[in-house]
Symmetry: C2
């Protein structure tokens, strides 16, 4: 079918011009752009008078799981914001379900009104000091490189491994390169020689860049910088200078981790552009970054421009200040009308895969005794110290009375933290203490706990912790708030314990509700309770975290004892 | 081996900056760029004080055969000018030797100090109204796409075929696209809908662009424009505005057809940049066009920049005005010292291929009778009219006396032109008359006659024509000037009748000598005699040309009779 988009202004990403031109779509491709086309050339005519015809936006790096939405629901929301392609790194679901997680993301995103490209997770598990649901080797990833929507190897977070010559890391890099794949980077603050080595390995981009100086070095060295404006990690303001020439030529826009509420409130890539425009940046250059240059970064041919032969993926905007999306064409078909996504068929996923991702809990029910720290009396215990407004943590040694509440001390704001292995029924439970969270009653539990997504539980008492953990287990995943042995609020995340079946609005509402419930139990308003809890279990952010195996010194990648035994005195020859 | 280029100024094509930085080469790749490297990091230190460290230049479109040099000799000359890669379209040798011509170019360019990438000739033969040495179909080209130095399908000159849906043209395009190949364009003055169709077919660039307006339309539609500054076709001046933003982002620099003398006098890509700089353009942007952007056009990863992981192909320049090349590194090895190429091993070509390309004449000796136009007395004959300073020709009908000199009339400057088939011993000889050339004595013959490269002979008498033609045949190809039955000057081109074994200087000297000899016999100084003769045999440039099959009306692609028989009168019922 041929559609003529008439009387609009084309955003030309090759020349940064706004061009009065009509656009003829033929099936999935753009056939012509100009003023020589007539109504008779098309089966359907679309009136774009007063509107801007823009290439569909591309998000160069996003974790679908972090949105808690299924690919279909995310596509609906994204496409309403003019996004027609995302590069998804299914790192989270793969840590839970292994390659079946990748299969699920691929199957559940087939033929959506937004193309979901997949980058193969490079670091599963993220660390050897945790127990994930799978271990992926280079040879596991390789077959996926032949999939038409798999573009390469996702963020190579293990830059220490790369720099120190870890053979498995290099095997993954070499095999991706041999297959002509793109390799995404993730190496915050890497600089000088180390950055040279990292870039020379073929790591073509980075989304962890947080300052202009850092970006400038990367760009000079040939990397592309993905300007990340996520839900929590927001680098846009610091990186605004990158919207100028020549820097903007080597940048694109990404969200990385973003929640439903922010997507609904701010929009997606169009929202980032709006913020940049508000800060005085040129909207056309910003659109070029978010379209053609994203395609170039991923070596996609014929994507990211309104030009003959290019994919007919088009966002029609009312203006270039608010970046309001009126209508969207994907593969030549109108998929958004007046800002609303047209109904589309949700892709069918094979029964076997549904079975796998919806039964991701492999653990026995928890008992309150599981949370007791062995020992009695006053002991010198390691306590994780939260640092205000940061994901970094410190640690301190505190004298805690293990006989009384197994060490919990609400007066001192010392809570019990537990991470229970949920993938392989090992029964492993890591125990710790946390200071700075503020909870005064009950317990929280969640199956979202980067990157291994074991069951993390935080509580003021062991009974409520067991109730909370068991409720998450029962639901097959989710977030739960318990008080006095009863669930007071919950959000079910039955897909791999990470994603919901619900709509974006319902997820946003559910997330707000559990957060509110946690605040009601005393959680500090300075933090996002469930996110903060999740990150206490991520042993790649300094300095001390908790895994199923116990406390981890992130800087040395060593396990630490929870209870510090007094040093045995050296007794000489006695 | 590691080499440290110290104290130089790096031309950064990602940021257009001139950057004080040292460059560490490790084998064929650049390992690091910065000021953190020390002498101890390298096996060898090169002092680049006061010099500019620039990516090696890339010529995005050149016909090696037009230089008359072998790939090795061309590489020597190019690399001395800082060129480390060319994209060669072996269209000429393939018209003579078929795929063995491609094989020859590939084998004879293996491991040169300049990478010779090959684009598969798309239009062999160029037309059905001539007899070339081969016919190449899509299925003949396909296996070559797996060769590591074959990047795609060369200039798709048959744009009428593409527009009218010629199935073989589309088969070639589709098969190249399916293999992920680049497809180069060649479609002078194509515009509007036709250009849209051509671009939408996947033709990503054009080197025939001759005005800024033409270039602007192409760039808006997503094509890259190759700014051609060849020996004869010189588009630089008209296209100078393309060196400005945003246009320069989608342009690169090419030579297409260029001779040894011009290469020696002007330089190669560095010479084009010098001319642009002289015209006030930014040298760094011009270098970017000729390096990174050429690589991008051909989808080459890790080529065209001085950055970690990139190929260690580097031109060291004394300054950015004269673009004088001091030293060149190719694959990390110094291949030019103080402007002189280091001696390198000339690639061995298999005996069978040498045998084929050096025995490209398959025809019987010529006799003077072969050049006689049948008939007697005064006849109305078609005469090709040269147009001053153009390759275009006109045609006129003249009364010529076939009984006297078989139609030749030196007083009227009407010469005899012949094109003798030399590939398949068909014995076909096309005969014609030519006006405007000026020759007063003797004859010229040449085996360089685009695109079929049959034996073209121009003379003032049939005896000298036979002598000239036979001498070319004897040499296995070349250019010959004959007077009074004797060869007065000759240039041997034994490789496919197109290329010499000699050095650039010898070829330049030989070319000058045959040209001078032709002028001595009366050839007009307004034209390059051998080039003009060659183009009278190219039936794709309007309006009338001569092939082995006779006169061709290029506009209608029909054969024309040489002698116009008087129309038989309509006699009614009598």
């Amino acid at each position: 079918m041929k559609t003529l988009l008439k009387n609009g202004t084309v955003v030309n990403v090759f020349t940064d011009e706004l061009e009065r031109a009509d656009v003829l779509l033929d099936g999935g491709r753009i056939l012509g752009v100009g003023t020589c086309y007539k109504d008779e050339d098309a089966d359907e005519v679309y009136d774009a008078s007063g509107k801007f015809i823009c290439p569909g936006f591309i998000d160069g790096h996003i974790h679908i799981e972090s949105t808690m939405m299924t690919p279909a629901e995310l596509a609906r929301l994204c496409v309403e914001n003019g996004t027609t392609a995302i590069m998804a790194d299914p790192h989270e679901i793969t840590n839970v379900c292994g390659l079946k997680g990748v299969d699920y993301i691929l199957e559940s995103s087939e033929n959506l009104p937004m193309t979901v490209y997949v980058m193969m997770p490079s670091c599963v598990p993220a660390t050897a000091l945790d127990e994930a649901g799978a271990v992926l080797l280079a040879e596991d990833l390789e077959p996926y490189y032949d999939h038409p929507r798999v573009l390469g190897l996702a963020e190579m977070m293990n830059y220490p491994g790369l720099l120190f010559g870890d053979p498995e890391v290099w095997k993954k890099i070499r095999s991706a390169r041999e297959k002509g794949m793109v390799i995404n980077g993730h190496a915050p603050l890497l600089s000088g020689r180390d950055l040279d080595t990292y870039v020379a390995a073929g790591i073509g981009d980075d989304h962890e860049t947080s300052s202009f100086e850092e970006a400038a070095e990367r760009i000079r060295k040939g990397q592309r910088v993905m300007i990340r404006q996520g839900g929590q990690a927001r680098n846009l303001e610091a990186l605004l200078p990158l919207f100028e020439e020549p820097w903007n030529r080597r940048c694109l826009l990404v969200t990385d981790d973003i929640h439903a509420d922010i997507l609904m409130e701010r929009g997606h890539i169009n929202g980032i552009i709006r913020q940049a425009v508000k800060a005085g940046k040129n909207p056309v250059a910003a659109i070029r970054m978010a379209t053609l240059q994203a395609a170039e970064c991923f070596r996609l041919q014929g994507v990211g421009a309104v030009a003959p032969g290019y994919a007919a993926d088009i966002a029609v905007l009312s203006d270039l200040e608010t970046m309001t999306v009126c209508d969207v064409f994907k593969g030549g078909k109108q998929v958004v009308k007046d800002g609303r996504a047209e109904v589309f068929e949700v892709p069918a996923v094979s029964a076997e895969l549904e079975e796998t991702v919806r039964n991701s809990f492999h653990m026995e029910p928890l008992k309150k005794e599981d949370f007791l720290v062995p020992g009695a009396g006053s002991k010198s215990c390691r306590v994780i110290q939260l640092v205000k407004h940061q994901l970094l943590t410190d640690v301190s040694l505190e004298e805690l009375d293990l006989s009384k509440g197994s060490g919990i001390d609400l007066d001192l704001d010392i809570l019990k933290l537990a991470v229970a292995e949920r993938h392989k029924n090992t029964g492993h439970i890591g125990l710790g203490f946390l200071h700075g969270f503020g909870l005064k009653e009950g317990a929280l539990a969640s199956s979202v706990a980067h990157d291994s997504h074991n069951l993390v539980i935080l509580g003021t008492n062991e009974e409520d912790m067991a109730v909370a953990g068991n409720r998450v287990r029962e639901m097959g995943g989710g977030c739960v708030v318990v008080k006095d042995g009863k669930v007071v609020e919950e959000l079910a995340l039955p897909v791999a314990g990470l994603m919901s079946d619900k709509t974006a609005a319902e997820i946003a509402e559910g997330s707000a509700a559990i957060q509110e419930a946690a605040y009601k139990l005393g959680a500090s308003k300075d933090l996002d309770p469930f996110m903060m809890m999740a990150f206490t279990a991520l042993p790649v952010i300094p300095h001390v975290k908790l895994t199923t195996l116990g406390l981890v010194d992130v800087d040395t990648q060593q396990l630490l004892p929870l209870v510090e035994e007094p040093h045995q005195r050296f007794c000489g020859f006695s």
